[in-house]
């Protein structure tokens, strides 16, 4: 949380996964940097969980995570560690995307 003022803390467009601690969280954090080169990625490590976030939109590609993990990876396996996320989710086979979009 960058905002210290609780009354304005909701005025953010942060998006991204909250992962249980472990090797996958590390790999995803690294992949987030690679797959979103124009964005600043924030990593908030709470030991039990790691919040990986950026403004507006974050895309994570299966192949990038695989590369960072150094072993085969199926996108669906992310769910094993995906405890929460901010923003909306779009989970496909080759990527997962978190994004902010105001509907109405």
């Amino acid at each position: 949380m960058s905002s210290k003022d609780i009354s304005t803390a909701h005025l953010n467009n942060r998006v991204g996964p909250v992962l249980r601690q472990g090797a996958l969280a590390k790999a995803v954090a690294e992949a987030a940097e690679v797959d979103n080169p124009e964005r600043v990625i924030a990593i908030d490590d709470k030991v039990a969980y790691v919040r990986i976030s950026t403004d507006g939109e974050m895309i994570l590609r299966r192949t990038t995570i695989e590369e960072m993990l150094g072993q085969p990876f199926q996108m669906r396996d992310l769910e094993v560690e995906l405890s929460s996320f901010s923003g909306r989710i779009d989970n496909a086979e080759e990527y997962i995307r978190f994004y902010f979009e105001k509907t109405f």
């Binding site: 949380m1 942060r14 039990a48 669906r76 769910e79 094993v80 405890s83 909306r88 989970n91 109405f104």
Partner: protein, 500 residues
């Protein structure tokens, strides 16, 4: 590999709506069980669940999750967590399992409501996974504490609590029953999955996991954070419903149900999660304060998503933000003071160092809560233990069923929020709880709180002993100060040091 991709056939599996012919649409989807606000089936055709999963993916992933959680438990079985954990941490475990495990099972029935009476096939399919998830959560959260039953009778309450009229359980049931199992499918989607699961469960299952990791209880940390991975999937059932309702002119109805759920969830979490984080968890293991976790999960993450989907902040939001600072301190003091009436041993959490931490996190704590704890501490120092215990019942709220309490001290802000409805007087803890009642009095009006039952003569003998019996609490189960007042000695030592 020559198998199809998931998305090639996913849409076919959720294209299963048909027009009934041999029974009427109304018989098939009665409004009370469906809660469609009169919208026709077509309005729900647009339903598009954002977090897509297929059957084979589900069983594979869930098998993996369970393999992980159970193996952590097995590996840590010999780590003697029970023997080495601080008494305060055990209070966290006992209150958590008792209030949560079988509530999860009830949530499975609520998911079944959506499987049967949801109007969109995608919703019904995702709720089928939700139904399974909640069976997982109840079973795994019974299996884990079961290993402790032979060590400590209070752990029996991981199972037993829901069968009793213990007051905190009465409150938990009243809340969970109101927003899960007694609602129609859309109501469940909005109140349970959207408001509760994308919001509050993060507090209990991730915030607390952070504290658990700090406290070295990896088994618990791994368990509850794994549970939340299921929640984060099936919680997505609610979002598309919000959008459909807003689009079809039912924004006010959606907003109302969600506002009710958030307010009520807040009240329960102020007693379940607040004390666990700010008082029971040993000081050195507190990752963040309860307020900071609330800010992270509820304000920063959840409130934002309300606005994102086209809803407004709840009308009571400013009050809510104030309460985040204050309410749980009173809930904690109430639990601790009436400690024989709970199934865990609450840690007072007010040693000199802890008070300093509280003052730092909640400026003004010493001038308010501190005053009450000063009197308690004096009594304890003098061995006047009877005065650290109650001789009457707190008056509980006719909505949240929790003691009506608020910030003590010179400002004396506490008050009753009464309402007379159809000739009966009700007492509420807040404008929020009274407002919930007024939205649909028929849901609540003939329910009796613990105090109502006491006055009605259902609790015999009509004293604290009778109340304990009514709550199924016997010696060996009843709570006591977690540290058996060892913290008072720290106060004494500090005073001696200052005096010398």
């Amino acid at each position: 590999m020559t198998v199809l991709n998931r998305l090639d056939w996913y849409d076919i599996a959720r294209n299963t709506n048909w027009t009934p012919k041999y029974v009427s649409d109304q018989e098939l989807f009665p409004e009370e069980l469906t809660c469609a606000f009169g919208l026709a089936a077509e309005a729900f055709e647009e339903y598009d669940e954002p977090y897509k999963t297929t059957y084979p993916e589900y069983v594979k992933i869930q098998r993996e999750k369970d393999a992980g959680a159970y193996s952590v438990k097995a590996a840590l079985e010999r780590s003697k967590i029970y023997e080495t954990a601080s008494p305060g941490w055990l209070a966290v475990l006992k209150s958590h399992f008792g209030a949560i495990a079988r509530g999860e099972y009830s949530a499975s029935s609520a998911e079944c409501r959506m499987v049967r009476f949801g109007r969109a096939p995608g919703m019904r399919n995702m709720a089928t996974f939700g139904m399974m998830d909640e069976i997982r959560h109840s079973q795994i959260q019974l299996f884990f504490p079961h290993q402790y039953v032979s060590k400590d009778r209070q752990f029996d309450w991981a199972f037993k609590a829901y069968d009793t009229n213990e007051w905190a359980m009465l409150a938990a049931r009243h809340f969970f029953d109101d927003m899960m199992v007694t609602r129609g499918a859309v109501g469940v989607g909005l109140m349970l999955t959207f408001a509760f699961e994308t919001g509050f469960t993060n507090m209990q299952f991730l915030g607390l996991a952070a504290d658990a990791a700090e406290a070295g209880d990896w088994s618990f940390s791994s368990l509850i954070s794994s549970i939340q991975t299921d929640e984060s999937r099936h919680a997505q059932i609610g979002g598309p419903l919000v959008q459909i309702l807003v689009k079809n002119g039912k924004k006010a109805e959606a907003q109302r149900l969600i506002d009710i759920s958030i307010w009520r969830a807040w009240k329960l979490f102020s007693i379940l999660t607040g004390p666990a984080m700010d008082y029971y968890t040993p000081l050195e293991h507190r990752k963040q304060s309860f307020k900071e976790f609330m800010q992270e999960w509820i304000v920063g993450q959840f409130e934002r998503s309300l606005l994102e989907l086209g809803l407004d902040k709840p009308w009571y939001w400013d009050n809510f933000l104030k309460e985040i600072d204050e309410q749980h301190h009173g809930m904690h003091l109430g639990v601790w003071f009436w400690r024989p009436t709970v199934w865990w041993n609450p840690a007072a959490g007010v040693s000199p160092a802890e008070r300093q931490w509280l003052e730092e996190k909640y400026p003004g704590w010493n001038e308010t809560w501190g005053h009450c704890w000063d009197v308690i501490t004096e009594n304890a120092l003098e061995g006047n233990m009877a005065k650290t215990l109650p001789e009457t019942l707190p008056v509980v709220c006719n909505m949240c069923q929790l003691p009506i309490n608020y910030t003590p001290g010179p400002k004396w802000t506490m008050r009753d929020f009464p309402l007379t409805y159809a000739g009966r007087d009700y007492h509420f803890c807040s404008e929020g709880c009274r407002w919930v009642f007024e939205q649909e009095p028929g849901r609540y009006k003939d329910h009796q709180s613990l105090v109502d039952r006491f006055l009605d003569g259902q609790i015999q003998p009509p004293d604290l002993g009778g109340a304990l019996k009514y709550m199924s609490l016997a010696p060996g189960e009843m709570g006591d100060d977690a540290l058996k007042f060892a913290w008072v000695e720290e106060v004494r030592a500090e005073r001696l040091k200052k005096a010398s």
